[in-house]
Structure formats: structure tokens, C-alpha cells
């Protein structure tokens, strides 16, 4: 049985500490409710960009953990980012891929390859420090300290069901530019 995305996100929110979090697509509405803070920035309006956005923040701020809440369809849009991330070797980057096999937001069409696409193998092949899949919430809870603390880049493929809400059914949240400035002010203590 697959995990509920909202349950996974609640566990992350409880343990993240000062980590910067980057949700995208179907993780975005739930994360907005679970962690309504300014240490997150949502990748919205440029699908596929969450991993590269996380890479930039992670390299700029090696003192912070950066956690990307990616989607399988989203990652496929910029799959080359796996090699870019591996090449840049951000030690503080955790890349979580919520794998449900479909483009949930646009109507649950299958992603190319569906659930057979193996992101763990791709991340390992690209050169991530480690990568593995998690199917059970208890296993995820048990592994979370290392997921948030081990040397990156680290990928965890999370086998999940569909989220209760999508960016189309639950619109809202701050515009991207406001989120960018809020997070920047928080991280840098802008005067």
C-alpha cells in the first residue's frame, strides 16, 4: 500500500528543523497548510524547476539543509538536473520524489513510463551520493533523521498515492516573487 502524501509531509514538517523546503505541484497545497512559514518557496509557474531551485539555494547556503519535494512528472521535465546536481555535489541537498505515476494536477494522465520509471537508478547513475525508495510510512519515519542529515546529494523515491488537493483544486498561496523575497529576507536577514 502506498503512503499518503499528506502523512509524509506532516512527518517532514515535524522533523525539518531549519531546513529550507521547496514544494512543487501536488505537494504545494498540502505543504502550505501543514507548514505555513517563510522557510519554504514553492516552485510554481515553471514546472520541473524545483530541483534546480534547490540546488542554487543549497550551494549558496551550505549551512542549511535544503529539501526538495519533487514530483515524478515534474522531475521528468528537467531530468538533466540529476546530472547537474550530482556534478555540483551539494552536500546539504535532499531530493524527495513523490512518485504516483501520473500528472495528477492536469487530470491524472500517466507519466511516460508510469510507475515503472526508476528514479533511484537514475539518481545513482547520475552520481548522487545515495538513493533509495521508501514505500511505508513507518520506514520513512525511521529513516528521516538520515534523510535530513546524511551527506548529499541524496534522493529518496517515495511511493505515494494521490494528494487530496492539487494546485488546480486548491489555488492560493503567495505569488512566487513574494515567496522569493520572504525567504531571502529570512535567510539573509535583509535590513
Amino acid at each position: 500500500m502506498s503512503m499518503k502524501p499528506e502523512e509524509v509531509l506532516r512527518v517532514i514538517a515535524a522533523e525539518r528543523g531549519t531546513a529550507v523546503v521547496i514544494p512543487t505541484m501536488t505537494t504545494a497545497p498540502a505543504w502550505r497548510e501543514i507548514a505555513p512559514d517563510d522557510l519554504s518557496v514553492t516552485c510554481a509557474g515553471f514546472m520541473g524547476g524545483a530541483s534546480a531551485l534547490g540546488l542554487g539555494i543549497a550551494l549558496a547556503r551550505p549551512d542549511r539543509r535544503v529539501v526538495v519535494l519533487d514530483g515524478d512528472g515534474s522531475l521528468l521535465m528537467q531530468l538533466g538536473s540529476l546530472a547537474s546536481i550530482a556534478g555540483a555535489r551539494p552536500r546539504n541537498l535532499t531530493h524527495l520524489v513523490f512518485k504516483n505515476g501520473v500528472y495528477h494536477t492536469s487530470g491524472s494522465q500517466d507519466i511516460p513510463g508510469g510507475l515503472t520509471v526508476d528514479f533511484v537508478a537514475m539518481a545513482k547513475g547520475a552520481g548522487y551520493k545515495s538513493a533509495y525508495a521508501v514505500r511505508e510510512l513507518d520506514d520513512f519515519k525511521r529513516r528521516l533523521p538520515s534523510i535530513l542529515g546524511d551527506e548529499g546529494p541524496l534522493m529518496v523515491e517515495l511511493i505515494t498515492g494521490l494528494a487530496e488537493k492539487t494546485p488546480m483544486t486548491a489555488r492560493g498561496g503567495q505569488p512566487f516573487n513574494v515567496q522569493v523575497e520572504d525567504l531571502r529576507k529570512k535567510l539573509l536577514r535583509v535590513r
Partner: protein, 186 residues
């Protein structure tokens, strides 16, 4: 007639550009990041600027990150902005075309200062880029105009002052700005 610009001149100018950007960030924030280098060059390798990229490999005070696509590089630049680190994008005109949605969604809608150095590969020395027989040369400036991205041409060594000028412009307008490298660097 346009002239090629030596890589060393561009690198010295980038160094000055990063110093100025770091000073601006330091004046703005209480907790700037602590890195030992001056800035980051985000590159999707460009044939036109290959002598610069090659020379940058030997520089320790500028970090070059190579990306698989211009979409990634543009989005990562937003991450560097959030984290308070100055960066420069070095790409080719074809890469600009490939990453138009990210230019719009990240740099423009996100109001993120992103400075591009765009190589005009195949630009003819005796022609204005707008009259080039190559569409990839011809459409670059019109595309930037459509999106309202300020831009200038680097037509020779005397134009390198436009690099810090347009980098500063990107910071001040909170959006993209670009310089176009007219001839292949040497």
C-alpha cells in the same frame, strides 16, 4: 566592425562585477553568506565563449557550475539570489530560446535579478545581428525586446564596462538583463 574580446579581459571584468555585487549584498543584509570565492558562473557551455570558460577553469575565485539545460541554470540562479550569492549566466542564443518559459516564470514573474551573457554563435562580422542570415542570431534581440529584457551588445574590448552595468541593472530592476557577445572570444 566588431572585434573579439580576450578571455582575460572578460574574466577581470567578471571579477570586478562580482566584487561590486558582493558589496551591494553586504550593504543590504545582516547575514551574507560566507564563501571564499567572489561569485558563480552558471554555464551551459557556449562555443562562442569557450575561451572564457576554459580560462575560468583555472580560476579559484570564481566557481563554474555546468548545467544540462538553460532552464536549470536560470532556476538555480534564483536559488543563488535567495541565498545571497552573486552569479552570472553564460549561455548561447539557442539556449535562450530553449528556456523562454523559465525566463518568464522565474526571472520576470519571480522578479529575480538574473544577468545573462549570451553568445551570438554564427554572427557574421560584417552584418548587424538583425540582418544575419541565421535565424538564431537574428531573433535574439527581438525576443529580448518582446519580453522587455534590457540588453546591450559587446562588440569589442571597449564594451566590457557593459558587464557590470547590466549586472547592476538586473539587481536594481529585480529582473533579467543581458549582454550579447558579438564575436567569438579569444
Amino acid at each position: 566592425m566588431p572585434e573579439s574580446i580576450p578571455a582575460s579581459l572578460i574574466i577581470d571584468t567578471l571579477r570586478d562585477t562580482f566584487r561590486e555585487a558582493r558589496a551591494a549584498i553586504a550593504a543590504e543584509v545582516a547575514e551574507p553568506p560566507q564563501h571564499s570565492h567572489l561569485g558563480w558562473v552558471l554555464s551551459v557551455p557556449d562555443t562562442h565563449q569557450k575561451t572564457v570558460l576554459s580560462a575560468l577553469d583555472k580560476e579559484r575565485d570564481m566557481q563554474v557550475i555546468t548545467f544540462a539545460t538553460e532552464d536549470e541554470a536560470t532556476t538555480a540562479a534564483a536559488g543563488f539570489y535567495i541565498g545571497g550569492e552573486p552569479c552570472v549566466m553564460m549561455i548561447q542564443h539557442a539556449g535562450l530560446y530553449a528556456s523562454v518559459n523559465t525566463l518568464r516564470g522565474v526571472a520576470m514573474d519571480g522578479k529575480v535579478p538574473i544577468f545573462y551573457m549570451i553568445g551570438l554563435l554564427s554572427r557574421e562580422k560584417d552584418k548587424d545581428p538583425k540582418e544575419s542570415r541565421h535565424s538564431m542570431v537574428r531573433y535574439c534581440e527581438p525576443l529580448l525586446d518582446v519580453f522587455g529584457v534590457p540588453h546591450a551588445r559587446l562588440e569589442g574590448p571597449n564594451d566590457v564596462h557593459l558587464i557590470p552595468k547590466y549586472h547592476r541593472m538586473a539587481r536594481e530592476r529585480r529582473g533579467p538583463a543581458a549582454v550579447l557577445v558579438g564575436l567569438e572570444t579569444i
